[in-house]
């Protein structure tokens, strides 16, 4: 178990190094922050002085080593766009994204899996068929369209929900939460649905297929032959065995919800990491982009590790082998 963990950690470290190198190589292509900083009326000399003071005139490998040197000490520098320390910028945006992803994930799993179980148990029912059709829509409509449609319906026509922002937030220590206010929940609703819709339909379809497959297997037949109650067969035996692939996918999808909530956050001006990174890219805010990419890489490494550990909990065969 310990060896397994250490192996995973080593893999993770290699991934992090690779990601950081790749992201630095990309900075060549996002353009120059200097023009955004000094303004359009700056002279050639002023631009050059700025470039030098930021160290952008140095060769890329050297810039990279300097960045790694600082990053190892937990120092990511100052955002070019807001002049705030990068660690503070990211820490102040993290709660918004995590709360949004959490609710979206709960929605996706909490609605998607039961729907999938139902569809797997009653493959021919009318409800299942209509769910299938609806889920096709959910999986094929891009999230910015979903977002805009929701805004059109609930903000413009009905005027029930705010079209942007997080509403009122409450500071719990360093964590700003929108969970404690009415406007916070109202603001959360549409972004969460937008972000969850794709995953929800994905989980539903995945659960359904897995469930149908497991229900056809020998041990289920055997359980039936033993005369176990239908409920026990469906939920204790069948569902449990469908969970392994679902956990894998759920882990990866949760990571991508946090990492790629960019579109949803942009549509709803949700002040999280997604909105931050898109603005950082537009501005050429290199310190923020670098730190963000590292953070996301770390997140994926950690999530995958947790997923591997969850296998142990769910699948007794894995424990038996060791």
């Amino acid at each position: 178990m310990l060896r397994f963990l250490l192996g995973r950690l080593a893999n993770g470290a290699i991934v992090m190094v690779l990601v950081s190198m790749l992201s630095f190589a990309l900075f060549n292509f996002i353009g120059d922050p200097v023009s955004n900083l000094v303004g359009e009326n700056a002279t050639v000399n002023e631009r050059e002085a700025m470039r030098q003071s930021l160290g952008l005139d140095q060769p890329l490998p050297l810039q990279y080593l300097k960045f790694v040197g600082r990053a190892v000490q937990g120092e990511f520098g100052v955002s070019y766009r807001n002049i705030e320390p990068v660690s503070r910028v990211i820490a102040s945006r993290l709660p918004a994204t995590l709360e949004l992803s959490l609710i979206a994930a709960l929605l996706a799993l909490g609605v998607g899996i039961p729907m999938g179980v139902y569809a797997g148990l009653h493959p021919r029912s009318l409800l299942t068929r209509s769910l299938q059709v609806i889920s096709l829509v959910g999986i094929s409509v891009p999230s910015f369209v979903t977002g805009i449609m929701l805004i059109l319906l609930f903000s413009i026509y009905l005027n029930w929900l705010p079209s942007f922002g997080r509403g009122e937030t409450v500071m719990l220590g360093v964590w700003s939460t929108g969970f404690l206010t009415v406007t916070g929940w109202k603001s959360l609703l549409m972004p969460a649905v937008t972000l969850a819709l794709f995953q929800l339909t994905l989980f539903m379809r995945l659960t359904r297929t897995q469930m149908m497959e497991v229900l056809r297997s020998e041990y289920i037949k055997f359980a039936r032959a033993r005369g176990l109650r239908e409920r026990s067969i469906n939920y204790r035996h069948a569902l449990r065995n469908t969970l392994i692939p679902i956990i894998t996918v759920a882990g990866l999808q949760l990571g991508s919800m946090i990492a790629f909530s960019i579109i949803t956050e942009t549509v709803f001006q949700w002040p999280g990491l997604g909105l931050l990174i898109i603005q950082a890219i537009n501005f050429g805010d290199v310190p923020v982009i670098a730190a963000y990419l590292l953070l996301i890489a770390l997140l994926f490494v950690l999530i995958n590790m947790v997923v591997d550990l969850l296998y142990f909990a769910v699948d007794p065969r894995l424990r038996a082998q060791r």
Binding site: N36, M50, V89, Q269
Partner: protein, 529 residues
């Protein structure tokens, strides 16, 4: 535990419900596509940020919505010698924290502008020194006689010396040294509004400064600024009433907004003129099929391109009628603009263009790369696409190189261009000199920073220092006219148009739109709903 409140709608409804308890409590919620970068008046040089903090900090003088100079922290000034101006400061002015304003604060702010991290020092580079004469008098010395001193001084926003020292903010934030500064997220000015709270990219709240020295023309008590990046979301927030007003409204939404009975759209020409530049220095044009020579060095080719572009058609079909075709690079609203030259040099005529090209030795035209930004100017990309097909009619094939601003600006800075779109607003001084210096002057370390095509005419260059230092307005106007005539005859650039400033608001809000696209909150009036 701190609760940041945002119950504008509810609060206003409630206030009306509770009759007169909150009478006159006008909250104004407005939006733009981007947030101000910093609250520090000296740490960044970004038009929107400068405009935003001008509601909190003030200078000795200020612009009104017609871009005329008004007294602010100075009550009067006189020219003592050609390079020294004496400013009498306003007495009894208090900063938001209650400290009194005097000459020490002005001198301190001038010193702070010149600290290493400051990015506005370039805007004040013609100033040599600011000296205290007595508690309410300062002398401003310039490097050479400077007719536009007051326009330049608008950028010298005054901070409180005591407050800055107390909070260790005596220097502007220095990105090179990776230091944040207290003044980045906190503010203490003398202006009409004081900063209450700031959450970057979310919400910045200002409240009226009850002790402001000026008699307010506005009737606001609280101002909430919420940037919304997505155009569609910003427009729908206007329609649903989530915000009261927005600047930088996308042109494609204007019709939609006008159709909403509760909203109104205000449009006018911006100071910014959009024009096309051409590489006139390389011996072989980049991104072209012409080898061994550079067609743009020939004025006939530049004239051909000029006559091949139909600015009226651009206005009609790309700009949805909202552009002001330009006769030269200088908006008529700029100080000193040669209005008599604001007519097209040559008419639109594809035939004449073809003839000129044939005369110059390109009877069947040529191919050239066209560098355009896609998120910098109003409809920049669409304009380039339209011009591309206009040019094709006279035989000039363009390879469109459309890129985001961050990439396009690298090209401009490094002269990696052949035929490119660029614009200039003449800000922050709102005077013709800045634009002529940045765009038309021969490129050196200090001049011609946006002259990516390296147009160079020594006769024009000789006029620049005279325009910079001629005090007599009539003489200066003549110099400007002569200089612009040279540049125009050379077709140094091809002017297209002044792009629109588009603002929208709930009906009954007077926003005092100005051609510099800056919202002056101290001129905003909100009608009771």
């Amino acid at each position: 535990m701190k609760i940041s409140t945002s119950f504008k709608r509810g609060a206003i409804g409630l206030a009306l419900g509770l009759a007169m308890t909150a009478a006159g409590a006008n909250t104004f919620t407005w939006s733009s596509n981007l947030d101000a970068l910093s609250m520090d008046p000296h740490s960044t040089n970004n038009s929107f940020t400068n405009a935003f903090v001008s509601n909190i900090y003030e200078s000795l003088v200020r612009f009104n919505d017609k871009l005329q100079i008004e007294p602010a922290l100075a009550t009067s000034w006189k020219v003592v010698s050609p390079t020294v101006w004496r400013f009498t400061l306003r007495q009894g002015v208090k900063f938001h924290n209650g400290e009194s304003f005097d000459a020490d604060d002005v001198v301190f702010s001038w010193q702070r502008v010149n600290t290493p991290g400051s990015l506005v020092k370039g805007n004040l580079s013609d100033l040599k020194e600011v000296r205290k004469v007595d508690a309410f008098t300062v002398d401003v010395e310039t490097n050479s006689p400077l007719p536009t001193l007051t326009n330049e001084l608008v950028q010298l926003l005054v901070m409180d010396k005591g407050w800055s020292e107390q909070n260790r903010a005596t220097e502007a934030s220095d990105l090179g040294r990776q230091k944040e500064n207290f003044a980045n997220r906190n503010a203490n000015g003398t202006g009409p509004f004081k900063l209450i709270s700031r959450e970057v990219d979310t919400r910045t709240v200002l409240a009226v400064n009850p002790g402001w020295w000026d008699k307010p023309k506005h009737n606001l008590t609280q101002v909430m600024f919420t940037p919304i990046k997505s155009d569609a979301t910003r427009t729908s927030s206007l329609i649903s009433g989530g915000i009261d007003a927005a600047i930088n409204v996308p042109l494609q939404d204007v019709q939609r907004l006008k159709s909403v009975p509760t909203l109104e759209v205000v449009q006018g020409p911006e100071l910014r003129t959009i024009f096309m530049g051409m590489d006139q220095s390389r011996d072989e044009l980049l991104y072209s099929d012409v080898k061994g020579k550079n067609p743009f060095k020939d004025v006939r080719v530049r004239k051909a391109v000029y006559q091949a572009i139909d600015v009226e058609a651009l206005k009609r079909s790309v700009m949805r009628g909202a552009s002001w075709p330009a006769g030269n690079l200088l908006s008529p609203s700029l100080n000193g603009s040669p209005v008599s030259l604001n007519k097209r040099l040559l008419p639109y005529s594809p035939e004449a263009a073809k003839a000129l090209l044939a005369e110059a030795g390109y009877p069947s035209g040529f191919t050239v790369g066209m560098q355009c930004p896609n998120d910098r100017y109003v409809y920049d990309e669409a304009l380039c696409l339209a011009m591309s097909s206009m040019l094709a009619k006279v035989g000039i094939k363009t390879n469109l190189m459309i890129e985001p601003t961050a990439k396009w600006s690298v090209r401009l800075n490094s002269n990696d261009v052949s035929f490119y779109m660029v614009g200039h607003a003449g800000l922050p001084m709102a005077d013709v000199y800045g634009l002529l210096k940045d765009v038309v002057a021969t490129r050196t370390g200090k001049e011609g920073s946006l002259n990516a095509g390296k147009y160079s005419n020594p006769k024009f260059d000789a006029y620049l220092p005279q325009i910079a230092s001629e005090i007599d307005p009539a003489k200066r106007a003549r110099l400007i006219e002569e200089a612009v005539a040279i540049e125009r005859a050379d077709v140094s650039h091809i002017p297209l148009h002044q792009q629109p400033v588009t603002w929208a608001s709930r009906k009954g809000i007077a926003m005092a739109q100005a051609p510099d696209n800056q919202l002056r909150l101290w001129l905003v009036n909100v009608a009771p709903r």
